[in-house]
């Protein structure tokens, strides 16, 4: 939920990166963290297992700049992708303002993408949100791998409502900021309509 503080002149919004296990959600955040100026970001918190799989969530606050005298701060979260962390995944969506679905472009992960997208819709609904109404971006990640499906084919399977689709290679940063921009822009545009 967007939080507007008139005293500190800040707008705080929550963006969640969602997607199947090992699709690159944490890698997206890691790249944003590594590429932004120290004054624009807080700590990157990773609640991960000993083998670096997300256990609960990753979190980083990011300040974009000032609009109408208010500092805009985005709180970026990832969810654990593994199926058995379903209960935790659902909790992270509470109060979300925008969602990025990170799809794994590899052929053998298409079923996992479809299942996870269905799971996202279910979990949003459980919190009273509708994917069709919430700011949302589809990222096609791992476009550099040899066994990827054509972008058009993934879009045909996964696009829900004409949302922006960004092709990405999160490990090298390609498309990462374009994705963040696309979702942040929708969140801010929604503020215009909030009244």
């Amino acid at each position: 939920m967007t939080f507007i503080n008139y005293a500190s002149k800040e707008i705080n919004c929550k963006i969640v990166y969602y997607g199947p296990g090992l699709c690159g959600k944490t890698t997206n955040l890691q790249h944003i963290y590594d590429s932004t100026a120290p004054q624009a970001k807080g700590k990157l918190i990773s609640l991960a297992t000993e083998t670096d799989r997300t256990l609960f969530f990753d979190f980083m606050p990011l300040e974009l700049g000032t609009v109408r005298g208010f500092k805009t701060r985005f709180h970026l979260y990832t969810v654990p992708g593994q199926v058995f962390y379903e209960a935790s995944r659902k909790l992270i969506l509470k109060g979300v303002d925008g969602v990025v679905f990170v799809a794994d472009s590899q052929e053998e992960r298409m079923d996992a993408n479809i299942e996870c997208l269905y799971n996202l819709e279910e979990n949003l609904r459980a919190h009273g949100y509708d994917l069709m109404k919430i700011p949302y971006v589809l990222q096609l990640n791992k476009r550099d791998l040899p066994n990827v499906i054509a972008a058009g084919q993934i879009v045909a399977e996964l696009q829900r409502k004409g949302e922006p689709v960004i092709e990405a290679v999160a490990s090298s940063g390609v498309g990462v900021f374009d994705t963040l921009k696309a979702v942040a822009k929708q969140v801010l545009t929604e503020l215009r309509g909030a009244g």
């Binding site: 005293a7 929550k14 807080g42 979190f59 300040e63 700049g65 609009v67 909790l91 949100y129």
Partner: protein, 164 residues
Amino acid sequence: MAENPILLREQRFYQIKALLARLRLDAAARLVVLVDKDGQQIAVHGEQGDVDTTSLASLAAGNVAATGGMAKLIGEREFPTLSHEGERESIHISLIGRVLLVVVFDERSSLGLVKLRSKQISHELASTFAEIERESRVLAASNTMPFNEITDDEIDSLFSESQL
């Protein structure tokens, strides 16, 4: 928009700060942080030192969400308070409606005192926050929010300024 935004006006913000200051004094606490259940820090008072209160807020909300999930699994609605005791520093968290009151304290205080003072102030915090929610709904419905007139150019310039 997923939900109506919460709008915290200056007067309410300083009202909350005053309540936190009183709690900090009465509980002999090191630091008091008020956090939205979604993980956003609302106000902070006390010896911050090098404590990253933004991360603390996010982790406290995650902590409460996780224990709330456990509560439901065993047939409880929620666990209204959580305490974590360390060797030198401890944390007490209480759920007050849609906000979390996080108190960091050390050997200058005790868990019993922090619990008691947190409970004593919870009614005032709850009623203040109920007012804030009511005001937010009124403001959102009145079309007087500061971002109603925001332009695409302004949003775009935000991204060019931040060099993303």
